[in-house]
């Protein structure tokens, strides 16, 4: 098998969009890093103003107060504040605790020793999906939005691909550090941080792991001033310690419900509800709703081989979204059987004296004919093709809206 012909290293940015839902908070990642021997500033987790003050007094001023939420750009959004004395730290704690940061309420902050530094570096490891290999990255342009650096000045980030079978050789860590132009005085310390990061990446099934910035102090000490660690969801079964740190974050009750039912669900702002099987087909159904002038209310993939109960749960979910005016059900069965789906739709709808939204059903593939025979067409509108089903649902949604 060849390597990718058209892959360019320039297209590879740090913080490639993380595909993992499992993210560690900064304080959790820092704990993992510190246990592995990476120098981190003194810090304490706090969830009340009193706790923050107490922590700051223990650590000694100046301190940074940092919101622990899973959103990027905390600093710019006001989620990180520096404090030089007790009065300032109180104010910072009052400002940040309870604040809404891009939809998430801040319940915990990390109170951390503020480090004086002369340089800031970036160090990270991620999976280069184009090459199918991990890649180690180092830049002397740390402390800023590294994605912007990657876009505007890709050469400012040194990269080194790692053989997944052998792991990272020590020379590779040194090479990428020298290639990046890390100051000679701290090069071996940074190489050692990178080696440790790679080992952590490997051992913990991380999808990405990064420190931005690694601060270089006046005394040429290196300190990890931030910590990002995202774990491959598919590998959590063999990472029990990390799995325990998983914290479900949902944007609303519907997404929470989807989590409980085990659906892939994304809420959108339209009024046509969409249920289907298989991500590609569900996305296509959304696109067609848009194409025919409607607006998708959600993405809901019931997955492969769904039984009747799962189908009923999906309808329950979409019905409970008050923005939804009509629903299109699009099933193309491979593993999934049309008769099971039809049974689920009937079961779900027969519970209602009056069905809350009109439902259009399109069944194709395995046992589709059996399914269409079972479907109670007093409860649903049955359409033969995807195009017809979507157009009908969009019409219904428009009338109801």
């Amino acid at each position: 098998m060849r390597s990718r012909r058209f892959g360019t290293t320039n297209s590879l940015s740090p913080k490639v969009p993380s595909e993992s839902k499992m993210k560690l908070h900064e304080y959790q990642a820092k704990r993992v890093f510190a246990d592995a021997g990476i120098p981190t500033p003194a810090s304490t987790l706090a969830s009340s103003v009193d706790e923050v003050v107490e922590a700051a007094e223990d650590i000694g001023y100046p301190v940074a107060v940092k919101a622990q939420v899973h959103v990027g750009g905390r600093g710019k959004a006001g989620g990180i504040k520096l404090a030089d004395d007790r009065e300032e730290v109180e104010r910072a704690a009052e400002d940040i605790l309870g604040m809404d940061l891009k939809g998430y309420t801040v319940e915990e902050v990390l109170v951390e020793e503020a480090v004086n530094f002369k340089n800031e570096l970036y160090v990270g490891v991620t999976m280069d999906r184009g090459e199918g290999k991990p890649v180690a990255m180092v830049s002397t342009k740390g402390g800023v939005n590294i994605e912007e650096v990657a876009e505007e000045d890709p050469d400012a980030i040194a990269r080194e691909h790692v053989d997944p079978a052998f792991g990272m050789h020590p020379y590779q860590a040194r090479k990428v550090v020298y290639d990046a132009g890390v100051p000679r005085e701290v090069a071996s310390d940074v190489a050692s941080i990178l080696t440790t990061l790679f080992e952590l990446w490997d051992d913990s099934d991380a999808s990405d792991i990064e420190i931005n910035p690694v601060m270089v102090t006046e005394d040429d000490e290196v300190v990890a001033a931030d910590a990002v660690m995202n774990i491959d969801d598919d590998a959590l079964f063999r990472q029990p310690d990390l799995a325990e740190m998983e914290e479900e974050t949902f944007e609303d009750d519907l997404e929470r419900k989807a989590g409980e039912y085990g659906f892939d669900y994304v809420r959108l702002d339209g009024n046509t509800g969409i249920i289907g099987n298989g991500a590609g087909l569900v996305m296509t159904t959304l696109d067609l709703v848009d194409y025919y002038g409607g607006s998708p209310a959600n993405f809901l993939d019931i997955g492969g081989g769904a039984k009747a109960e799962r189908v009923a749960n999906a309808l329950d979910m979409v019905f409970s979204d008050e923005n939804v005016d009509a629903v299109v059900f699009n099933i193309f069965g491979g593993i999934t059987r049309g008769d099971e789906v039809a049974k689920g739709i009937n079961d779900a709808l027969e519970q209602f004296d009056e069905i809350p939204k009109r439902v259009v059903v399109r069944l194709a593939g395995t046992n589709a004919e059996e399914g269409r025979e079972i479907l109670n067409d007093e409860l649903v509108t049955v359409e033969e093709t995807l195009e017809d089903a979507v157009q009908r649902a969009v019409e219904y949604a428009e009338v109801e809206a």
Partner: protein, 289 residues
Amino acid sequence: MSVLVDEDTRVVVQGITGGEGKFHTQQMMEYGTNVVAGAVPGKGGQEVEGVPVYDTVEQAAREEDADASVVFVPPAFAGDAVFEALDAPLDLVVAITEGIPTQDMSKVYKRLSEVDTRLIGPNCPGIITPGESKLGILPGNIFESGDVGLVSRSGTLTYQVVDNLTSRGIGQTTAIGIGGDPIIGTDFIDALELFENDPDTKAVVMCGEIGGEDEEEAAQYIAQNMDTPVAGFIAGRTAPPGKRMGHAGAIVSGSGTGTAESKINALNDAGVPVGDTPNEVADHIEDFL
């Protein structure tokens, strides 16, 4: 004609004693696939659907002269199962399993560069040469033998497009579901190359989706290397940036690459018409034939 699989392909089913393995072995055999063995550690000597089961893939390949396998092994063990098939060695491995840890796949991908085996998947519906053989979970009845090659990142979308083709009498040489995971064996370019070199494939459908840059790279390949006409479809035009839509790969970063728009533009620039609906893809293919 066909690519990769035909009626002579001799298939081992890895994980044949599990629920999925057993059910789909039956389905594959009903379709005509020449399933010659199963391989499940500790289950050697048993029979499933009249097929002998061996403890190792290597034994199965040796005793039954198998040259391909389909992997229905649970995700925690599937990476190892693929390794076993590569080392047996077999010519073709089709990994259906969804949810294999990415680092396991990274090691498999590295091994692939050292052997002659071709891997399809993982997290894919498999491959079918209509009327001859199917390796995987695709519903055989919607396919028909004909002139069009099909390669797709998404299972059910494959079925949809095939249905649009078959319903107007356009058959297929071979359809390959390459899977939606971040690291896969056979990619768009590999599949397009196979179809380009197959004299019986008169046109190709390529179904992509948001996320990654594989479609953009495939577009360059088509422009530079293909005489066989290609029509495309890209799912996820309405996907909001930053949201993960089911597939691991189906996420738009918001940075401008990997979006439906960038993929559609790249394909259009390569002379590939992209349908707004699956039905329009069939229109384009009809024009080619």
